[in-house]
């Protein structure tokens, strides 16, 4: 397993370099001008000088190389500086957002907590709800519980968050007035009351996201349980006189979790990617919202860096999913 992991990590390096090149070239090909927002009164030659100041005058390979050095060398050094108080990265150019003229990674670090709070909590809530639902639906297949579960998950799966989000805002904020319709990013939690406020503003976005994720995972769980409930080893466990609890929650669940854990692990990068639409609906200043505004403003370093971070997470969690698979299923041996 260790050799497998190391081999996969080494293989990830060329993969990620290639991905970063593709992202860079795609953004290069995309139309758009970072000076588009500058007022028309600014003369064209000034605009041209501003472009050059952003480095746009350089050839493509030079700009790509500079981004690589900044992202893979300067930013990690800067992180070490921050953690240990050293000065390794002093005076070196970091990846700078064209929009705000501040380092991209600093902005990301500001936004990540918002996203993790809302989307991460939604993911955890969804898993905690989905697994029992999936298990019970499969165990009592075609019961009223299963039928109701199937209906609700189909609805949850097919209703997009820009609809369900607005719907819960209308119901719970406008009509009932229970929760604020806008997520206040600047809110700080420092005592019980402010924690309650934080909870209240989280409930609706978490609910909307959790509905979708629950639908997905509970379907997976149900299908996986159904696969396993019909297996011969289940009959063997019953023939040994094991209680239904042991049969279902030990023998069947342990086998059924193998594919589900993989799906859950593969879904984690999406948490960091934020929920672009849900963040928009509830005005959460998260990563998804950051990406959208960066795209609109032609802030290429920001878009490039964010997209690449998602790529890293996806590669990483693919590896984690594979390793988990090997740990959970004794039949899988990578070495």
């Amino acid at each position: 397993m260790l050799t497998f992991t190391i081999r996969r990590l080494l293989l990830a390096i060329p993969t990620l370099l290639f991905i970063s090149l593709v992202i860079f070239l795609l953004l290069e090909l995309a139309p758009g001008d970072p000076m588009a927002q500058v007022p028309l009164t600014v003369p064209p030659e000034v605009k041209e000088r501003m472009r050059e100041a952003l480095g746009l005058g350089e050839p493509v390979h030079v700009r790509f190389w500079k981004w690589l050095v900044q992202f893979f060398w300067v930013e990690p050094l800067h992180l070490i500086d921050n953690l240990f108080g050293t000065a390794l990265a002093e005076g070196q150019q970091r990846v700078i957002s064209w929009q705000s003229r501040s380092p991209v990674m600093d902005i990301v670090a500001q936004r990540i907590p918002q996203t993790l709070w809302v989307v991460g909590v939604a993911y955890i809530v969804a898993i905690l709800i989905a697994i029992p639902i999936g298990v019970y639906s499969a165990y009592r297949q075609y019961s009223w519980f299963d039928q109701a579960g199937t209906f609700i998950t189909m609805v949850g799966f097919s209703v997009p968050p820009f609809f369900s989000g607005v719907l819960v805002i209308v119901i719970f904020s406008v009509n009932l007035g229970w929760f604020p319709s806008i997520y206040d990013t600047t809110h700080e939690v420092n005592d019980w009351d402010s924690f309650v406020v934080q909870l209240k503003q989280m409930i609706m976005p978490v609910m909307v996201l959790a509905l979708q994720i629950t639908s997905q995972i509970s379907r997976f769980m149900r299908a996986s349980m159904l696969d396993n409930l019909g297996q011969d080893y289940v009959r063997t466990a019953r023939a040994k006189g094991m209680t239904e609890r042991v049969v279902v929650l030990l023998h069947v669940l342990r086998n059924s979790m193998i594919p589900v854990v993989t799906v859950i692990a593969l879904g984690i990068p999406a948490i960091f990617g934020g929920a672009i639409i849900t963040e928009q609906v509830f005005k959460v200043n998260g990563i998804g919202q950051l990406l959208i505004t960066a795209i609109q403003a032609n802030d290429l370093p920001m878009v490039q860096t964010l997209t690449f971070i998602f790529a890293v997470l996806i590669v990483l969690f693919n590896l984690i999913a594979d390793v988990l698979y090997g740990i959970l299923d004794p039949r899988i041996r990578y070495d």
Binding site: D232, T236, A237, A239, K240, G241, M242, T243, N255, P330
Partner: protein, 334 residues
């Protein structure tokens, strides 16, 4: 086996139906048999004849719905298993009645070690702690002839071959010293040499441990080698029942006779074609009010379409459910 000993298992008029969308399927139809202590009872019949369903019905292993045990009585000692609640049945399954199933490749849970799976019934039924159960599990693996038993306890099922897995299944079934072992086609999925090894093992274990065995198979050769008594099943019913020598020497039911003819001969003319029984096994929909074998029977009477023949004695400890008498070639007086 002492004659007249009280049967360890006494099944009377067992009826099981499956509810399907297209009506009820009568999978087990008034099946009665008994099993004496230490005896090996062979159950033969083709696929779908109700052999396995009968044995599963006894002990509540059929999924319900769609299966439903409609009636009858299953006396195990002085307890009627059909009246017993789930907890009682669970306490009997795996402890006093052990099971071995057909396919050893899928009958063990792939994610738990073999040791864990053997120790499970020991800890549940015998109340052993982990250490005692481990010692016993090692003994059991040695008993079923798995070399290097102690170290193999921590192996997973996929690290065993098919024959070895079936030995593990037998070890699990025997873990709590059951009075009855139900073996549901335990050698069907194995190749012939491994099959012979498993048969030898079971014969040997039976002598050592003295439990009664129900051996379900469709292989008459296997039955001839190990059984004391034989039940022949067809269409969810018992059509013939006799001691093994009597059955092979003096088969009464046309189905039994046809089955015996399908066994390929080891000696004699090579040109002899493989015999088959013409036709398909019956679909068991609708109430059983005619002989289930009538469509494929070469000695069919008009009466066979109207009445389901009852089991009638036709020799010492021998009975059959047929209106045709092979001795006279005419109708049997029932």
């Amino acid at each position: 086996m002492p004659d007249g000993a009280l049967p360890v298992l006494d099944v009377k008029e067992l009826k099981t139906v499956f509810r399907t969308r297209r009506g009820e399927v009568h999978a087990v139809n008034s099946v009665s048999f008994d099993l004496k202590p230490g005896e090996l009872l062979g159950v033969v019949g083709e696929s779908g004849s109700g052999k396995s369903v009968t044995m599963m019905s006894l002990i509540g292993l059929l999924p319900s719905p769609p299966a439903e045990v409609r009636g009858g009585q299953v006396m195990f000692g002085d307890q009627d298993l059909l009246q017993a609640d789930d907890d009682t049945l669970r306490a009997i399954r795996g402890a006093r009645i052990g099971f071995v199933f057909q396919d050893p490749m899928t009958s063990l849970n792939p994610v738990f070690t073999v040791g864990f799976q053997i120790m499970e019934p020991l800890r549940k039924h015998m109340g052993m702690d982990k250490r005692a159960a481990r010692v016993r599990a090692k003994e059991l693996l040695e008993l079923v002839g798995i070399p290097d038993a102690a170290s193999r306890l921590t192996d997973f099922p996929h690290q065993f071959s098919g024959g070895m897995r079936q030995r593990v299944m037998i070890a699990i079934a025997l873990a709590c010293d059951p009075q009855v072992l139900i073996a549901d086609e335990p050698t069907t999925a194995l190749d012939v040499t491994i099959q012979a090894q498993i048969l030898e093992l079971v014969k040997d274990l039976r002598q050592k441990l003295g439990m009664a065995i129900v051996w379900i198979t469709h292989d008459l050769g296997v039955i001839a080698g190990i059984a004391d008594r034989v039940i022949v099943m067809y269409g969810g019913q018992i059509v013939e029942h006799a001691p093994v020598k009597e059955l092979f020497g003096n088969p009464q039911h046309p189905y039994t006779r046809a089955l015996l003819e399908t066994v390929p001969a080891m000696h004699g003319d090579r040109a002899d074609r493989l015999r088959v029984i013409q036709g398909q096994p019956p679909v068991l929909a609708g109430p059983p009010d005619a002989c289930p074998f009538r469509a494929r029977c070469s000695h069919r009477f008009e009466r066979c379409d109207r009445e389901n023949p009852p089991r009638v004695p036709c020799g010492p400890a021998h009975d059959t459910a047929c209106f045709w008498d092979p001795a006279t070639g005419g109708p049997r007086h029932v």
